[in-house]
Amino acid sequence: MKRANLQRAFPWLMVLLMVGGPVAFPHAEVYFLVFGLACFYAALAMAWNILALSGLFSLGHGAFFGLGAYAAVLLQQKLFLPTYPAVLAGGLVGALYGLLWGLVFKKLRGAYFALATLAALEIPRVIVDNWESFTSGSMGIVGLGRLPALDVEIIALPVGAGLRSQYYFLFAWMLLVMLLHRHALLSRWGWALRAIRDNEVAAEVLGVNVYGCRLAALGLSAFLTSVCGGLYAHLMGLIEPAMVFSLHIAAFPLILSFFGGRFAVLGPLTGALVLYPFDQLILQPWLPQGHAAVYGLVIILTIFFFPQGLATWFRTKSTIS
């Protein structure tokens, strides 16, 4: 009974923490920065998990992230597209690369798929690194502006005006991705994904379009990850191949999702909102170089001691596969 209450209260507690915390301390800029980025990584983790829910683990999502970032920036600089359309177009570029994965890696499963994605991360990185006339190579592209105001009907939201408005924007982005993530768990398509993950042959026999459902998950996951990449370029103000096509970007969502709980709607989100602020606010000042080791430790401990992740502590009925 108590557990059930906790379960029901949990999402509201999170909302209270996320909205209430920064509002209670309106001058603590660093909290806005860190919690804003925590929301960002939560969105990234959920985007990754949409593919993982179909039973395929990717170690190469950094490829989508980097392609999204570079496409968004180059579309603005070479074709003079406005920021938000460019970011969305960058998402489409990433989704195309995702569909290419779907074609080439069609028959790969498990560790073999993961290894293939690891190699697929290297390919765009080397190309961007070497195509200096177009992408300015390993020097990267610097001096990118903050996110401009977002025009919604008549009001213009000053998204990039300060850390606070940036925080609210990233919070909203996280909620949007959370709804899609929820859809990938609870809709008819979500159940199809679950059937595929549990037993592909049985799902096929029951009439689930295995390839189609999986391709949809891959496409959506790649699109969202690439959009995150495009946003990241403007959050950081610069991009370099080693920064956006990095293994750390690829590892982050995996670790946050496992830690938070891969099979819960709020799992990856919980993982991100707990672990990232912990790392940035507590560990980083204490151990400036090498504090990211905590992510490696956490994933090892998670696998050994609570493989279903944090979020399952807050639920009554186990819906684990």
Partner: protein, 289 residues
């Protein structure tokens, strides 16, 4: 002409080093069927250890080799203990856990050695020269070539001509049948990890003299080891050498033809091609924890 010959030579020495990378990986993969994504980081560990001994304690370089070859088996056996206790599903969990281990190691390197590129700088001496073909072999290259080939040969002799080596090969090929034949599979696993560790300990210092050490540099050797293991088939030392030479040649000739920065593309493409064409190298009947 000369430059291509030089390319072939450096390809062969690179390829022999790749074989060394692949050997350690394929022994450990053979007895566990675990893709050790921290393989390259273990090599970096040995490399950084050698660098620290050489740079901070002024140990002569050749003394770092035996030290690393003693320390790394301990690390490899620790890895075995970790993998042994892994909950199911083994294949994916081993991938994720070794990935986590790689992140931990990378950050340790970052904390202790900073993000700078490190190199054990040996005096450049020419040991062999053909001026007519403008062919040149430096001590570094010779060390890489001879060290790697000697280790490969030693492992080959061990696996094919000794009784224990044959038992180890049997364990790699099929655990259950090996156990039925009276082979103590547990001890063979220990042995595989120990020998794998010695090879890692040799590879690290060799890498530190020829390529730069960098905290994030573990991925490339890992990918190369995986490529060779998948291409050769498990526990097949002979084909491992051919695969290593082929990859080394392909990389060094690519570097000559279109520039050294494209070299990394070769290994990534080769890995994808191998995976797509031979998706089931490990053999479905024999996925053993």
């Amino acid at each position: 002409m000369g430059i291509w010959l030089q390319g072939v030579l450096s390809g062969l020495s690179l390829g022999s080093f790749y074989t060394l990378l692949g050997l350690g990986f394929s022994l450990i993969f053979g007895v566990t069927r675990a893709f050790n994504l921290a393989h390259g980081d273990f090599i970096l560990l040995a490399g950084y250890l050698a660098f620290a001994l050489w740079h901070f304690w002024h140990l002569p370089f050749y003394w770092t080799l035996p030290v690393c070859m003693l320390v790394l088996p301990v690390a490899a056996l620790a890895l075995r203990e970790l993998l042994r206790r892994l909950p199911a599903p083994f294949e994916l969990n081993s991938l994720v856990v070794t990935f986590g281990l790689a992140i931990v190691l990378q950050n340790l390197f970052l904390a202790f050695f900073s993000a700078d590129y490190r190199l054990i700088l040996l005096p450049v001496t020419v040991v062999f020269e053909l001026p007519a073909l403008s062919l040149l072999v430096t001590a570094n290259q010779a060390l890489l070539l001879i060290g790697s080939l000697a280790a490969t040969l030693a492992v080959y002799v061990f696996l094919y001509w000794t009784f224990v080596g044959k038992a180890l090969r049997a364990t790699i090929q099929n655990r259950e049948s090996a156990a039925l034949a009276g082979i103590r599979v547990d001890q063979m696993q220990l042995l595989a990890f120990a020998v794998g560790g010695v090879l890692l300990g040799l590879a690290g210092p060799l890498m530190a003299t020829n390529m730069y050490l960098h905290p994030a540099g573990g991925l490339e050797p890992t990918l190369i080891a995986i490529i060779l293991t998948m291409a050769a088939g498990i526990g097949r030392t002979g084909s491992l050498l051919w695969a290593g030479w082929l990859l080394g040649l392909a990389e060094s000739l690519t570097a000559l033809a279109i520039g050294s920065s494209w070299r990394e593309l070769v290994s990534a493409l080769v890995l994808i091609l191998i995976l797509v064409w031979r998706p089931n190298v490990s053999g479905e009947h024999n996925i053993a924890p």
